[in-house]
């Protein structure tokens, strides 16, 4: 198996901005203390060097294939089709199985690639990262273990409780866990804490968990992560002879979305991103950055759509720690604003029921994050009712760390 090569198709400008040609609105940039500017310049240089370095890329791709196991299958799910009338009514439904990755989510592809670059090109001895569902920290910690680097993980106190399995695994991998009690005690303050720590450790490299952060992170992360989509596109063509008619991904920050959507941006695939509607968007208690009507804001080094209460970053409320990010990556906001990506949402209750349904009907324990996309995809596909379409859903994680909460939910609801 060879990984299809990367082609840059939607580059930001030299200052790290995507510009909306109609509104002239800019997305991205580098809003950060001058202290970190040299670090960011170095990350950018290392990244440029890395993607051109054939030996580096060969080494990286081998590890992605054999350590992360990035060549995961695409599963035709007649079970899902049958829930909404069968393939003859709604078309075929396929699941990209990144739940089968090492450390069970799409995250390790970016995490490992970034750490591998940190080790071999940036020459860092230590990695700093933040985490929400701890999927990111778990995979960063795994990479650091294998690459013999120190690893410091910042996690919000609320999340540390919610997904303790992943947190414990990060610790087994040798990561130092910093529990963050600031503000919402979730992903955003954890990321702020990680960036603050980087200022005190400029020799370390920071590894972000989504397509967010100051330039060059959004571009770098989607480039690394797009390995998933490049393979998926090739597989899908082999299976169906075509690119997918529709693509469905969940969207917290947007890394799993961009991992799959990026290589399809110039194709005629209709791309859907799914946000967490929490208790319902009208209640205000949700995690839907785009569909909640968020304005442009500047935080954590970048400019994008941000959930705010006046000028403060607001709480994003959702069952899924991995979606608890009060913003979307700048390229995602840009792609939404130019109409390339459509948005849908799923409430927490719908997602939890979808979790049980997936266990009982598919024999799959999905990450709770993935349940938002499955639910929304089913709703959309049912509405389209087009038997000629081939739908692709990104099953972006496995739900071992959600089992404790979900078995309680099951028992309470029976």
């Amino acid at each position: 198996m060879k990984i299809p090569p990367f082609k840059e198709i939607n580059p930001p400008n030299k200052n790290g901005y995507w510009i909306n040609p109609k509104t002239k609105e800019s997305y991205g940039g580098q809003y950060i203390s001058p202290l970190l500017i040299p670090n960011l310049q170095k990350v950018e240089k290392c990244f440029e060097k890395a993607i051109k370095d054939k030996k580096f890329m060969k080494g990286l791709e081998e590890k992605l294939l054999t350590f992360i196991g990035v060549n995961t299958p695409i599963l035709r799910s007649t079970e899902l089709e049958n829930l909404i009338g069968g393939a003859r009514k709604v078309g075929k439904i396929y699941l990209k199985r990144t739940d089968l990755h090492h450390d069970s989510s799409h995250k390790p592809v970016n995490s490992f690639s970034s750490c591998y670059m940190a080790k071999h090109i940036f020459k860092a001895k230590k990695i700093i990262c933040e985490t929400g569902a701890s999927m990111h920290s778990r995979s960063v910690a795994a990479a650091c273990a294998m690459l013999k680097m120190d690893c410091e993980v910042h996690i919000g106190a609320v999340d540390a409780e919610k997904v303790s399995l992943n947190k414990d695994i990060s610790e087994l991998y040798g990561a130092k866990i910093v529990v963050v009690h600031d503000s919402t005690k979730s992903l955003l303050p954890a990321m702020a804490s990680a960036l603050r720590s980087w200022q005190s450790n400029p020799d370390a490299m920071y590894v972000v968990g989504s397509v967010a952060g100051p330039s060059p992170y959004p571009r770098m992360v989607r480039t690394w992560a797009s390995v998933i989509g490049r393979i998926a596109k090739q597989q899908f063509k082999q299976i169906t002879g075509k690119v997918p008619s529709t693509l469905f991904c969940v969207c917290g920050g947007g890394s799993n979305l961009m991992s799959m959507a990026y290589p399809l941006l110039k194709d005629k695939t209709e791309i859907f991103a799914v946000e967490s509607a929490g208790e319902g968007i009208p209640t205000g208690r949700h995690g839907a950055t785009i569909l909640g009507g968020s304005k442009m804001g500047i935080l954590l080094g970048f400019k994008s759509k941000v959930v705010m209460k006046s000028a403060q970053i607001a709480e994003s409320l959702t069952e899924a720690s991995g979606l608890d990010f009060a913003a979307v990556g700048p390229e995602v906001a840009y792609l939404h604003d130019i109409g390339k990506i459509k948005f849908r949402s799923t409430t927490d209750m719908e997602a939890k029921k979808t979790f049980l349904m997936c266990c009982e009907k598919l024999g799959i324990v999905p990450a709770i994050e993935a349940c938002y996309v499955i639910n929304a995809a089913i709703k959309e596909i049912k509405k389209r009712k087009n038997p000629r379409e081939n739908h692709l859903i990104h099953l972006c994680g496995s739900g071992e760390s959600n089992v404790a909460r979900m078995i309680k939910f099951k028992r309470e609801n029976e």
Binding site: Q30, I32, Q199, M296, S310, Q312
Partner: protein
């Protein structure tokens, strides 16, 4: 240059001493107490820096993060901090310049043009935006607006920055430049004099702009050492610490007063 800062530096030069710039988060722990604190600070400091709190700050230590959270809980927002400064300035007798310190989001959300105008009408003399990048469209607009109305745009440089970056920064910087003394967060380490000397030299090579040094300055002795190299010194966590520990204490302003009085003893330029 902003007139009040001009006067401040001129007077200090005349008196062969440096200037002390005190920082406190606006509305920490609440509007009323904060007002008293700022008035007290204006009695001892050459200039007063008031923070508009931001809950997702990327450069503040726990001390200032806590102050931010206290102020937000007390209802702080951009509008009220402007009001606070305006009231304080109208009540004090002297021309001590006041700066706002914040992050780009509160400014951007307020609208950059409106924010600049509001600085003017609220008698704000300068602005520090920790995460404003020289290349951002917001930074360009902001520096243009502030120049029009003679509000100082004080920019940060750090020990990790090279000469090219410093030159770029100097182009936009007005009234004085803020030197971060170490790689780290406000108040998290001891002031690093080696760094300060190195950066000051690079600045002096390119400009005559007054230099203020911050991060890690807490004691008279810190002040004294820094003032041998720079024109001003910024003390933040030292003051915010006192607020945090005494927010319900009647003697809070008195404590801040005596803390500042002691620091001032280190301002003398001569040995």
């Amino acid at each position: 240059m902003n007139k009040n800062f001009q006067e401040m530096f001129a007077k200090a030069k005349q008196e062969k001493r440096g200037s002390l710039i005190g920082f406190a988060t606006g509305m920490d722990p609440n509007y009323k107490t904060s007002k008293k604190i700022l008035i007290e600070m204006s009695k001892h400091c050459g200039a007063v820096e008031v923070g508009i709190p931001f809950n997702t700050s990327t450069s503040d230590s726990a001390t200032i993060m806590d102050a931010n959270m206290r102020a937000i809980k007390a209802g702080a927002n951009t509008e009220k901090i402007f009001k606070l400064i305006k009231e304080v300035k109208s009540e004090i007798k002297n021309n001590v310049p006041f700066l706002i310190m914040t992050y780009m989001n509160p400014v951007y959300r307020y609208s950059i043009k409106k924010f600049a105008k509001k600085c003017k009408t609220s008698n704000v003399d300068g602005l520090i935006i920790v995460d404003s990048n020289n290349n951002s469209p917001e930074d360009k607009e902001l520096s243009k607006e502030l120049k029009k109305i003679n509000v100082a745009y004080v920019k940060l440089v750090a020990p990790t920055n090279d000469e090219a970056f410093i030159k770029e920064t100097l182009k936009k910087c007005s009234s004085w430049i803020y030197v971060v003394s170490y790689a780290g967060l406000t108040g998290s380490k001891q002031v690093n004099l080696g760094n300060v000397k190195k950066i000051s030299k690079l600045i002096r090579k390119n400009s005559k702009i007054p230099i203020g040094v911050g991060f890690g300055i807490r004691t008279k002795s810190d002040v004294s050492k820094v003032i041998k190299i720079a024109d001003a010194t910024i003390v933040g966590s030292g003051i915010v610490d006192i607020v945090g520990k005494n927010s319900k204490n009647h003697n809070l302003t008195k404590k801040i007063g005596s803390y500042l009085k002691n620091l001032k003893k280190g301002l003398n330029k001569q040995r």
